[in-house]
């Protein structure tokens, strides 16, 4: 799941200016994050209207990152989009860019900040799980990822700052190495940590290219 957070409403008011604005949501991640589903899109519409900003229309794309679906769904809203000067996208950074490939005449305003690829723990509680490095190694660490879950990307054990199972960077974060250790210990697989893990091959990350 791509985890997003809505930007502060006052920032969005500044960005949208006098409008008029067309609002776009997303049926997948942003819906589950409660940042850009139908409910949030309609609430945003009301909030703009309360601030005397004209909303020409809205749509929830299915999902916003799907170019062909977006083209099809937006076709029905051509008039509404044409009346707008600004398009507010309540989806991830990918969604906003797919929309900007189609709508080129308006200012695209991103209504959310895209945070990470993570797990939904409970409603509105998310945790980072993956940085999409292109070379998955979680099988070496009891199904847990020290690249995405350790602020120092330690591959050979915990740094010197972990205490009582907590990360030195924040007391709110569990030290992933503590969890890896506990899990491997209970599975009798601590030997897996003895081997020195070589530097990671970042060329496998799609950072180096853009297409698949």
């Amino acid at each position: 799941m791509i985890i997003t957070k809505q930007k502060d409403f006052n920032t969005l008011l500044d960005d949208v200016g006098k409008g008029p604005v067309f609002i776009i949501g997303c049926s997948e991640c942003a819906t589950l994050c409660h940042t850009g589903g139908e409910e949030e899109v309609v609430a945003m519409k009301r909030a703009f209207e309360d601030n005397k900003i004209e909303v020409t229309g809205w749509v929830v794309l299915d999902p916003a990152c799907h170019l062909q679906n977006d083209k099809r769904l937006l076709r029905k809203h051509t008039d509404e989009v044409n009346k707008a000067k600004k398009v507010l996208v309540l989806a991830c950074g990918n969604g906003a860019q797919t929309v900007s490939e189609i709508i080129t005449e308006c200012d695209i305003i991103t209504g959310t900040d895209t945070l990470f690829l993570g797990e939904i723990k409970r409603v509105n509680e998310f945790e980072k799980r993956c940085i999409m490095c292109g070379d998955c190694i979680v099988d070496l660490f009891a199904g847990l990822c020290p690249i995405s879950r350790c602020p120092k990307h330690m591959l050979n054990g915990p740094c010197g700052g972990a205490k009582d199972g907590k990360c030195e960077v924040s007391q709110e974060m569990d030290c992933i190495w503590d969890i890896i250790y506990q899990r491997l210990k209970s599975n009798g697989r601590l030997d897996q940590l003895k081997e020195i893990k070589e530097p990671k091959d970042w060329s496998k990350s799609i950072d180096m290219g853009r297409k698949l």
């Binding site: 602020p151 010197g160 700052g161 972990a162 030195e168 210990k185 970042w202």
Partner: protein, 304 residues
Amino acid sequence: MNYRSNLEKVLSQGKFTVTAEIGPPKGSDPEKIRKKAEVLRGYADSFNITDNQTAVVRMSSIAGCTILLNMDMEPLMQITCRDRNRIALQSDVLGAAAIGIKNILCLTGDHQSFGNHPSAKGVYDIDSIQLIQILKNMRDNGIFQSGDEIISGRPEIFIGAAANPFADPYELRVDRLEKKVRAGADFIQTQSVFNVDKFNEWMDEVRSRGLDNKIHILAGITPLKSLKITERMKFHVPGVDIPEDIYKRMKTAVDPKKEGYGIALELINEIKQIKGVHGIHITALFWEESIPSLVKDSALLPRS
């Protein structure tokens, strides 16, 4: 026997070794570091120059080391993985060797969120153990991390690493040391020791695995200058373990500076008795001038 550095020589000859830390200034004035170094001349075998410690921007470690070299004092360059990727790290190692730096301490580095630029992007391309292995391969096999060959001049570096016997999960602490030994570290400087019982426990395990015969271990010593520094270290510096009795002594002391000095002396004397410890590494936070008397009062003079 040809030794790469004075530090290697003193350790190899089995003498109880002393290293001391010098933090470069938050500015470009070389006099600052010269003054600190001059105070310490003759009181340690090699001098650590820190690399933007606690992620606060300071004069670079390599420049600090150069200043020491020009004073005929032996530097020990600290290098962290926080600010450089493997290209920059290897390049700095070659540069350091070229200007005559013989000792390098490989660290992962304090996280940038602790420093004066918390909005910086951390690098962490490799970790400290991988860095040790890379240095070892550059030195002994003449190859870079990629496998590419070093063409002209292998860096003849005495390779150091850090160890923290007090962090969690405790059971992994000696494993980490063992990994550093296998990666190719020649010596270890530990986190400052205040909790001697826990340090002894760690050393017991180190000896039972025979690691003290494979690597030189220098125990960290920090004289506590004030109650304020004690509290900062106890409550805010990750990985430091100041036990209640020491905290209480500092809290109730009429003269905390004197008490802190006394505690450091006691710690050195206790640590000297521990089998498998080959020296001490003194990090005197904002109190470098205490180092000469500390070395003298613990009967560790003269240094060669």
